[in-house]
């Protein structure tokens, strides 16, 4: 089940959900409308699941930055969000979708215990100019069924991330051998 606006507000007050910075005006009927942070990592080369990805880091100026198709951009949410009680699911919103922007590449789930600024995996269908701090998508909160376990208690790669993370899959594939 997905939390409604009053339920998200109550969970924030009870400390079951944290959103920093939090702006009550960004609560929508069943989501929180999150924003794009000001930094991008541009990945324009060949990638290998067994090797750290090469990238160039860029700050998005106030005048905006044009995303190009065929290039992978890793971005970050402006907000740090967390919950031990609820699972989170992050997506773009219809305004961003109709600009032809994917905000992640098929990985929307935030596990219980996640407390992160989310790394975004951005791809553009057409050249499109984006701006720092613009509203970029919706974050919903899901009730859980069963005994909880926290992401913080797992030996987890991204449990405490505060910025953009490149994939650390290479740690699982030493020397390209599984």
């Amino acid at each position: 089940m997905i939390l409604t606006r009053p339920a998200i507000r109550a969970a924030l007050q009870a400390g079951e959900i944290t959103i920093e910075p939090y702006d009550p005006a960004r609560l929508s009927p069943n989501a929180y409308d999150w924003r794009l942070g000001d930094t991008l990592r541009v990945c324009a080369g060949e990638l290998d699941a067994a090797t750290p990805t090469a990238f160039v880091e860029q700050v998005i100026p106030a005048t905006g930055l044009v995303l190009k198709p065929e290039v992978l951009y890793l971005g970050v949410t402006l907000e740090k969000t967390g919950s031990e009680t609820y699972a989170q699911m992050l997506n773009g919103d219809r305004t961003i979708g109709t600009l032809g922007i994917w905000v992640h590449v098929s990985a929307p789930l935030g596990h219980q215990g996640h407390a992160i600024r989310w790394t975004l995996e951005i791809r553009a269908a057409k050249p499109v100019r984006v701006y720092p701090g613009m509203t970029f998508g919706k974050l919903v909160f899901l009730t859980a069924f069963g005994t909880p376990t926290s992401y913080q208690q797992q030996l987890s790669k991204y449990a405490d991330t505060d910025g953009i993370d490149i994939s650390r899959l290479y740690e699982e594939i030493p020397g390209g051998v599984l």
Binding site: C43, E46, A50, T53, E70, L109, G146, L169, V177
Partner: protein, 179 residues
């Protein structure tokens, strides 16, 4: 409601869901990491025809991996057989794989109650990307359903290996005509 990791483990043990093979270390707080199977399919013709069976090319991922190219669509599969007769499964790429610019599914994350088999993955990279058989590529999560259960009896039941689209089976018979 989304199942917690301990509930996924309990349900895999008592039969409310199946994950085969099951490894405890692949359980996350709200999902299970599934691995990439060794077989990939690509469509052989330049244009895919929704209403007809399409020829495919099969390849095996070698020990040094395989480079996926942008602009190509690869059908892969999970190593694991996954299904449930009571929960609704959803499959998404892992964030570690998304950060490599690889789409793992296209528009169809939701599974059917009662489907059991290897899941077909729709692999499409933003940049050229080398992948390896056996790498943990996606996450399957499970949702509690409400209502009476009328399980899946569809055309992909008990799938083994990647399955190309079988939309053509649902189309009223069309005469084979030369194009």
């Amino acid at each position: 409601m989304i199942l917690t990791g301990p509930e996924i483990t309990a349900a895999a043990r008592d039969g409310r869901l199946t994950i085969d093979p099951f490894e405890l270390e692949q359980v996350n707080p709200n999902s299970y990491n599934v691995r990439l199977g060794p077989t990939l399919l690509t469509y052989a013709d330049t244009v895919i025809d929704s209403y007809r069976p399409n020829l495919t090319r099969e390849m095996e991922i070698g020990t040094d991996g395989h480079v996926l190219q942008p602009g190509e669509l690869y059908l892969g599969h999970t190593l694991e057989q996954v299904g449930s007769d009571s929960f609704v499964p959803l499959l998404f790429g892992r964030s570690s794989v998304g950060r490599l610019g690889l789409f793992v599914e296209i528009t169809a994350p939701i599974g059917d109650i009662g489907f059991h088999g290897q899941w077909t993955l729709m692999l499409s990279p933003v940049r050229p990307l080398r992948v390896y058989a056996g790498m943990k590529i996606a996450q399957i999560m499970f949702f509690v359903s409400t209502g009476e259960i009328d399980p899946y009896e569809g055309k992909y039941q008990a799938a083994t290996g990647p399955q190309p689209s079988r939309y053509w089976r649902d189309v009223a018979p069309v005469k084979a005509v030369a194009s």
